[in-house]
């Protein structure tokens, strides 16, 4: 799937591939440690943040902690 910015596409594809593999092979089987794709995600996330700024979208959620309640 396309990224919001073509400049993030390679980073997105690499991260998505890692995440999908982690999700089905590790997370769903109960191994929920999330460090497998962390480095890829950090690079991808930085790229997305810049792209979003270019699009002038206010994504206050980006700066804050998740709004979802933790039980």
């Amino acid at each position: 799937m396309s990224s919001i910015s073509p400049s993030c596409q390679i980073l997105k594809d690499e991260y998505d591939a890692c995440f999908n593999s982690w999700f089905s092979e590790h997370y769903l089987k109960g191994d929920t440690k999330a460090d497998m794709c962390t480095n890829l995600f950090k690079k991808y996330q930085a790229c997305i943040k810049d792209a979003i700024k270019e699009h002038k979208i206010t994504l206050w959620e980006l700066e804050n902690e998740p709004t979802t309640k933790r039980n």
């Binding site: 995440f19 999700f23 997370y27 769903l28 440690k33 206010t58 994504l59 959620e61 980006l62 998740p66």
Partner: protein
Amino acid sequence: MVKAYIGQWLYTFPWSQVVSGFWQKFPNPYTGHILSEDTYYRTVTEDQKLISKRVLAKTNKLPRWGERIFYRGSASTIGFIIEESVCDLKEKIFTTNTVNINMKSLMTVEETCTYRPDKEDETRTICEKRVVAKGELFGFKTTLETFAMQRYKKNHELASLGLEFILHKLYLPQLPPPPVVGIKTPDTRTFSRKLSDKAKHLLKSSNNDTLEF
């Protein structure tokens, strides 16, 4: 006044496959209006919940009357949606919440979907949807809500068919892909029958009700 819609969708795939497929559902033949999808936040909580946030870009056409009234020179034909989701591994509940972030001064359309294993048959997954449309502009509230709800009803079935299409591609690759039918006015009964014949699975959309309050 606020308009709300409640619906249900049955996937003929187990919960673990539906939630795995959820992340890979774009692109598919049914959701051509989604232009991009990016994850910008993701974490696993201490109690093993996976929390994710994605931003989706989509085409965002207003009806003609809306363009005349609301076009202010900066109106874009691209809209952005925030999708927040919580995957509760222990309880096997996957909840998604999507809301528009543009044009909030006109209206807010918020959809919540909950995916759980079907209690009667754990090889299937039930998705419950609830959407609320709220017009914000005095004098146009009801018109905006009606428009938003009509568009939602037209699109939400396509979104479910899109995920179903991807699930077949991922988990039943030996079978021919489900026929893409009726993108403008989907006939789910025909679609279901064709799928059932080939996959020997039951695909069925269930009762939908519209509430107004």
